[in-house]
Symmetry: C2
Subunit: 354 residues, 2 copies
Amino acid sequence: MNIEDLVYNAASWLSGEGDGDGMVVSCRARLARNLAGWAFAPKTTLEDQKKIIEQVLGAAQQCRPMCDAAFFHMNALQANQRQLLVERHLISPALAKSKGQRGVLFNADESLSVMINEEDHLRLQAILPGLQTHAAWQRVDALDDALRSELDWAQSERWGFLTACPTNTGTGLRISVLIHLPALVLTEDMERVMRGLTSMAFAVRGFYGEGTNVVGNLFQISNQATLGVTEGEIVEKLSEITQQIMGHEKEAQATLLADASAQVEDKVWRAYGILQHARVLSGQDFMNLLSAVRLGCSLGLIDGLPLGFINQLMIVTQSSHLQAEARANLSSADRDVRRAELVRRRWTEQRGLS
Amino acid sequence: MNIEDLVYNAASWLSGEGDGDGMVVSCRARLARNLAGWAFAPKTTLEDQKKIIEQVLGAAQQCRPMCDAAFFHMNALQANQRQLLVERHLISPALAKSKGQRGVLFNADESLSVMINEEDHLRLQAILPGLQTHAAWQRVDALDDALRSELDWAQSERWGFLTACPTNTGTGLRISVLIHLPALVLTEDMERVMRGLTSMAFAVRGFYGEGTNVVGNLFQISNQATLGVTEGEIVEKLSEITQQIMGHEKEAQATLLADASAQVEDKVWRAYGILQHARVLSGQDFMNLLSAVRLGCSLGLIDGLPLGFINQLMIVTQSSHLQAEARANLSSADRDVRRAELVRRRWTEQRGLS
């Protein structure tokens, strides 16, 4: 498999399925796991790392959910190729930057992936469209079960699964939703919502997870606590919290429509017009315009534009995707021109379909 | 004739004819004339004004170019109706504001008009599309000849035609072009061009003439001197100057395309997208966006959008036109919503035609 070909694939979690209100793009469940008998990071030697990769790949071959999976060793990838995987949410920014023996394994529709030798020996991930927290947890749990039949996890009766960083110890589970909250941002209520989440031990992060910025009003909300609670409780709690936030966003949308409907509609429709006609689009400009269009879909102002199309556009317009498609390193100015071209082309194709 | 019906008419000078480069919207020739034997403004009494109107209307009835003309007495018009005539360039802002016995006479295609008791007893105007300075002069000259056979002009052998203000004495001729100079504004060369024009005794004014602002990069350029030169020389000189400025604008357009083609195309196409989709458009916002679209036509980037359509849109989106169509006084916010609605509706109709 040529990694650049990913550009032409739509990952299954972008389908827009289960996202009836146009708010929850996707949900993701990840498990931190380590192999018993090996040093944890940062004490793992290069030799250890190499053997861990071999063991994990061996186990994956025996494991039904990963039988069609592709493996990429980080050392075999160039900077743009690694970044492409970050943009697809298949690896973390930290893994892309790291040195040593590290890699990623992911299945054809990109719903399941395993980072090897990131912070932990294994990071298992399931990612699904919409607010399917329970299903995402079940997918990653099934992958965990399948791998566990071949591998021996480091765990203690008292603490549960052991991890390189104590914040992941216990269940090793982090579950998150990628949620679009434009009205809470516009009404300046997002700060209050974020304070509330933090006080309940939920984290609010940017588009690519920990340490990344919020772009296009997309927030990643995840549990902080992994210890002293069951996986079921974590999943249930996140689902509940997400529905509460969706309620707040709906209220904020109603307020906006009541107070300034013409201005909201104008913002939405100008963005719709600009995206179809612009010749230069910076990444940030694009994400803000797309956010306005997505808001228009949530509000029922724009009809017939599938959320799957919007989600896919959000992925393929990222810098490394543009460079992969061009098979060249592009200047920032060239990327902005190519981004606008791509958006116009895809939009025309989409219009042809609908 | 109901004055509000003008909203649904396109004045002939908006046709875009003769404006091959998309720069010169229209040209206008006006003659200041006064009747012999009556006091000039501001010494004309109300009684004088009344009799002057009667004389002029009597003469116009005998005069072929004005046989289908409509007459409106300013006192019979409400503020919005007067402003509607200003927006159509049929009367001056000064006439709209004035009190006393005053009026306007104009023919069906709005190419010929006569203001009665503005600064002078008569102000004859011919307005044609594109750079037809000579034809505009001929039209107003023919009207002058026709009226002169019925009326007695105040003139002296030494000074020529006598006027209320000495700046108009002599020929009484002011000839102007309405010209779109977006590239000279963008490259910040317009200041220099304006200084050059002033030094050659040409005036640069805004959209509605003397004392009005420049909107949407549209400038009105006219002669200052009316004395000591022949009408033919004035017409010739303005035509020549206009062609020079068009040359400067073309150079500035070429510079923009050479230095920042993507940015220029982006500006043009975003405006094109926004105008078709916006839900709120202030007058200034609209004129700036329309200027970008007109630039796109001049540059050959946008194809198939007739200049006549752009010109007509510029007229009907003005505040008094919107109010006349709505048959109501509208708040500024309501006008902005109606302006956006009108632009979308007209654009859809235009697409249906092309």
